[in-house]
Structures are given as C-alpha cells and as structure tokens.
C-alpha cells in the first residue's frame, strides 16, 4: 500500500497569476510523457519483470506521483484566482467551459489522458527501453516548457523535475545492464 505524506518533494513557488503557463504545464499532468503516465507505466510493469528491478520500478513510480503533485501545485497556483476572462485570454476557455477551475488529466491540446500512452510488453528489455525513452521524452518536454516560460520561480521547479528525468534514465539504463549480465556477477570493479 501507499502512505501519503503532507509535503511536496521540492518547494514550488510561482511568481505571478499566469494561466497561460498552466495551459502548457498540463502536458506534464495528463500528457503522453507526463507524470501520470510515468507513474502508472512503471508501477504496472512491476508484475512481469525480474525481481532484481522491481524495487527500482516501485521507487521511481512512487517518485513520479510526487512529481505529479508538484505539477498539480503549479497549475493550481497559476489558475486558482484567475477570472473567466483571464482563463479565456490564456487559451483555457474550452477548459473553463468544461471544468471551471478543476484540474483534469488532459494534455496541453485538451485531449484526455488515455492508457494507450503507456506500454507493458511483458518483455523486460522492451519495457525498460520504453522507460528510458519515456524519461528522455519527459526531459525534452520540460525543456520546451522552460523555453516558453518567463517565470523564474516556476522554472526553478521545472529544472528540478527535468534533472530527475536524467537521473531516472540513468537508473533504468543500469537496470538494463543488471538484466544483461549473468546472475550475481558484480556490476562494477
């Protein structure tokens, strides 16, 4: 089971009410390479992968939920006091018509999250390569959002999340190495 902890993994600060940025950030909330997809992808793959890497999938999958909460916090702070007029001007008119100020799992273009964003092939190497690719894609998405954002506080949190993708990719690459080698062989010398 999981335990909730009443804290964010990283402090999230936002400089100004800017629903435009929220519209882009939703990509990492309910988009194909977003944090929800990541968490569900890794936690779901655990049931059909060698025991040696189940711990890693569990721990990275769990961390992804902490990232999902950070993204939600950013969107919440950027939109909570925005007027319908401001939402409309930010390109969130269609979102407002359906959801008011509620968050929803869709991507920046408004398409709802779908399970087809994630894969589970049951082949350990195929699944770990998918995970490595997912981390690189999420890293790239953070770069594109950082390139468009002019909020220094928000960018600070986004840079943290981008760096986490680099570390996760590193660990998944190591997991592949572990599965490549004979049982119980030392991985470093």
């Amino acid at each position: 089971m999981w335990y909730y902890e009443k804290k964010l993994q990283y402090p999230v600060k936002v400089t100004e009410c800017n629903p435009r940025l929220a519209k882009y950030l939703i990509e990492q909330y309910g988009g194909a390479d977003g944090e929800l997809s990541a968490a569900l992808r890794y936690l779901n793959q655990r049931y059909s992968i060698p025991d040696k890497v189940i711990g890693l999938l569990t721990d990275i999958g769990t961390e992804e939920f902490a990232h999902l909460e950070m993204i939600a916090t950013m969107i919440y702070k950027l939109t909570k006091d925005a007027t319908p007029e401001q939402m409309k001007a930010a390109g969130l008119g269609a979102h407002y018509a359906n959801h008011d100020h509620a968050l929803y799992y869709n991507n920046a273009a408004g398409s709802a999250w779908t399970a087809t964003y994630i894969q589970a092939k049951g082949d350990p190497i195929a699944d770990l390569y998918e995970d490595i690719a997912a981390e690189e894609k999420a890293r790239a998405t953070y770069q594109w959002i950082i390139n468009m954002s002019d909020d220094p506080c928000l960018n600070d949190s986004l840079k943290f999340l981008r760096e986490r993708e680099v570390v996760h990719s590193q660990r998944f690459r190591e997991a592949v190495e572990i599965l490549k080698f004979e049982k119980d062989r030392k991985q470093f010398f």
Binding site: Y142, I146, V166, S169, F188
Partner: protein, 73 residues
C-alpha cells in the same frame, strides 16, 4: 570529457519561407556517458543536492546549458 549539448546547421533551401533559425542544438545529458555509476562518486552537500535535483555532480545537467564565455546562442 563530454559536452552536454551538440549543434548543427539544418539545410536551408532557397524557397524556405521563414528566415533560417541558424544553428540548432540538442541536449546530450550525462546519463548517456556515465555508464554503470561507479561507487563513491563525489556528492553535493545535502543542502545543495535538493536544488541541483541530484546528489551527484556527475549526473548534474543544468538547463539551459550555460554558455561558454563569449558564445552566442
């Protein structure tokens, strides 16, 4: 040693309507080069690691990549 960013000049045809973007760059983060992380790598102090996003300088990849002195993006 590796560089965290690579750049190239995309082909610009005489009938391309937009002015050329010039040099285009992409990131090549440290996880592409580190291999299986060796033990006992140097660490950031605990107070700093959070703000770097990693405990190990060997995995730290600031973005945007800091420009070399005098360079233009």
């Amino acid at each position: 040693m590796y560089t965290p960013i690579k750049c190239y000049q995309p082909y610009h045809g005489p009938f391309d309507p937009c002015p050329s973007r010039g040099t285009v760059c992409y990131q090549t983060p440290p996880n592409l080069y580190l291999g299986f992380q060796p033990p006992n790598l140097q660490q950031f102090p605990i107070q700093e690691a959070l703000y770097k996003g990693t405990l190990w300088p060997a995995l730290y990849d600031p973005y945007p990549t800091p420009l070399e002195k005098g360079a233009k993006r």
